[in-house]
């Protein structure tokens, strides 16, 4: 499907969604509370069929966090980027690991690196950081580790 | 002609002349014990070097070539290293069993030496149930592995030991059945009788195809019994790190290591005795001229040549094949080897009764 068609389709599904121009792929901004509402039809709608979540990450913008989902369809080969702004102090968003199983590991990674709390995640534990890790999240911009970080 | 049996006889006569009979017996036993232990040491050194060279050449490498001329002293250096290493006993281990296990492995290997005929008339103990004795004693081997695995208090060791238990118990069957084929053909369990019966040709040639099948099954089964690849599930270093001897180090590990090689030697010696005529030179029926020529080669060379040939084949297996999985291992035994060897035994029995063999 072309970007224009995707745009109309997504507006139908979620009128509150806003769009960003530029870049190869259509970028959709959604509110965190609407994300699950959009995610279900994105995966299950036969004409959209975004079955391949190939990148799930988070960006720390200092004032807020922003979740970025890159979705693609192995059938139609169209790609879409979903972004969602999260509050920096209490970040939380619905987990999508029951829709795309790959999200389970990626969400665990984002959870420990950025401190995003994924609601209804089946197994939200530390994956990379050692057990009993306390302190801030390493990938945040304000993270400082005087011992292990080397500034040149 | 100069031979092992002459030396033994002369020694016996000389001892009898010098000492009283009881002392002679004691001295002879001590000499035999020392001979067996030194044979062990030499075998360990030679077989480890052989394995390393065989594997190296198959793997397009050079292999050990630094210690001594052409790397011949490499295994001596290895032994030295193992000797000076600390023999750790893990904290939670069952100390007695843990330290006993390697010795049991060695003792079993030593006991198995008794009925083997190394050369013409050169045998420690030619008992009348020689072959039965071998298959009975060799199954004690599993006890030492189970002990080592259990006492280590390590889950990898335990799993290795359990695998090994299942494996050795099953493969005893087909090894036993293929030994039986030769016993049926010979009509005797005595090792010297079995060898004498091959004076006009080895059983592998005389026994038609059934003997060949029995030989193949025997080789497969003993490879499994000695825990050699592709049946090295008890060790399986990519799965269980080192299996039952994960926690062993230093000399205790060396004993296991040595026992493995000595066991390989023994089973190959048995195989050579049963199927390839032991020390019996290569004879063809009534070709007296040819047989005479063959007799000029000393019997010990015949024996060791055949044994080392079989050892080479087992090493060849190890460096070619991937490892089996535990259920496939048992499938192979119960679904393939056992039925085939049973039918084979039936054929051989019929053949022996009807005197179809040469």
């Amino acid at each position: 499907m072309l970007n224009e068609e995707l745009r109309t389709k997504i507006t139908e599904l979620l009128p509150a969604a806003t769009f960003e121009e530029g870049g190869d792929w259509l970028t959709v901004n959604v509110e965190p509370k609407d994300w699950l509402l959009l995610a279900q039809p994105l995966r299950n709608d036969r004409s959209l069929f975004f079955d391949y979540l190939f990148c799930l990450t988070c960006v720390d913008w200092k004032t807020h966090l922003s979740m970025v989902y890159h979705l693609s369809s192995t059938q139609y080969r169209h790609t879409i980027v979903i972004k969602s702004k999260l509050d920096s102090s209490q970040p939380g968003i619905e987990a999508v690991s029951h829709i795309w199983r790959t999200a389970e590991f990626h969400e665990r990674e984002v959870y420990e690196m950025f401190g995003v709390n994924f609601l209804n995640h089946p197994d939200l534990r530390l994956l990379i950081l050692p057990d009993g890790w306390e302190g801030r999240n390493p990938m945040r911009k304000d993270f400082e580790d005087p011992v292990n970080m080397i500034r040149l | 002609m100069w031979s092992f049996s002459d030396i033994a006889n002369e020694l016996h006569i000389w001892l009898n002349k010098t000492f009283n009979p009881t002392l002679t017996l004691v001295i002879e036993m001590v000499i035999a014990g020392i001979a067996v232990i030194s044979l062990f040491a030499v075998l360990g050194l030679v077989l480890v070097l052989m394995e390393r060279k065989v594997s190296a050449w198959m793997q397009i490498r050079l292999g050990p070539n630094r210690v001594g001329p052409k790397g011949m002293l490499q295994s001596l250096a290895d032994t030295l290293k193992l000797l000076v290493k600390e023999g750790l006993t893990p904290n939670g281990a069952d100390k007695l069993l843990f330290n006993l296990a390697p010795f049991i492995a060695m003792i079993v290997a030593m006991l198995l030496m008794a009925p083997i005929a190394f050369a013409k008339d050169f045998q420690l103990w030619d008992l009348n149930i020689g072959v039965l004795y071998v298959s009975a004693v060799s199954s004690i081997m599993v006890i030492s592995i189970l002990m080592a695995g259990w006492a280590s208090n390590n889950k990898y060791s335990l799993m290795g030991a359990m695998r090994s238990g299942a494996q050795i118990v099953s493969y005893e069957l087909s090894a036993g059945l293929s030994i039986l084929t030769i016993v049926v053909l010979t009509g005797s369990l005595r090792v010297s009788d079995i060898i004498q019966s091959q004076a006009d040709g080895w059983w592998i040639f005389k026994g038609h195809i059934p003997a060949l099948i029995a030989f193949v099954i025997f080789i497969i089964a003993v490879t499994a019994e000695t825990n050699r690849a592709p049946f090295d599930l008890a060790e399986a270093e990519s799965e269980l790190t080192a299996g039952f001897h994960t926690e062993y180090s230093g000399m205790k590990f060396a004993l296991f290591f040595l026992a493995e090689y000595v066991n390989v030697f023994i089973v190959c010696a048995i195989g050579a005795t049963l199927f390839l005529g032991g020390w019996m030179p290569f004879h063809i029926g009534n070709w007296t001229g040819f047989n005479k020529v063959m007799d000029y080669i000393p019997s010990s060379i015949w024996f060791f040549g055949k044994t080392f040939f079989l050892i080479f084949i087992i090493m060849w297996f190890r460096w070619t094949f991937p490892r089996l999985r535990i259920d496939q291992l048992l499938n192979l035994e119960w679904k393939y080897l056992l039925p085939i060897s049973m039918i084979n035994l039936l054929l051989v029995t019929a053949m022996a009764i009807l005197k179809w063999h040469f």
Binding site: - | M58, I60, R61, L62, T320
Partner: protein, 158 residues
Amino acid sequence: MFITKYIKEVYLGIKSLLVGMKRTGYYFTHHKEIITQQYPDNRDTLNLPERFKGEVVMPHDEKNEHRCTGCQACELACPNGTIKVITQSVLLADGRKKKAIDKLVYHLELCTMCNLCVVACPSDAIVMAQTFEHSVFDRTKLTKILNNPGSKIMDGIE
């Protein structure tokens, strides 16, 4: 039929094993195929390609002159802070002052041989050498000063 299938299975299985054994047996008997290189012994015949990135060096000519202007492009290009250029101003013959290097400190222990400094250098003053045996007993020996003592910049390099 079951029996023929069984026999065929056994036959094909054994055949596949023998094919593998034939291959390893071939290598066992053909020692010409051995590829082992006996490294410390063959040091004299080792032939490293001229592009091999072993360490950064600064070539000097026979008059003990190098080509480094002290522009610090390499220092900026380095991702790890491997290179530190310490400059000084020298008095030229005609009385002008000019920036030149005092020391070019190179930390081999930090270097990842990424070649970015060599590419960045505008006057080709530094190149990659083909040495690779870098181990020393003392870590401070890995910090090297690339310009020779008393060396000068070549004429005509700006």
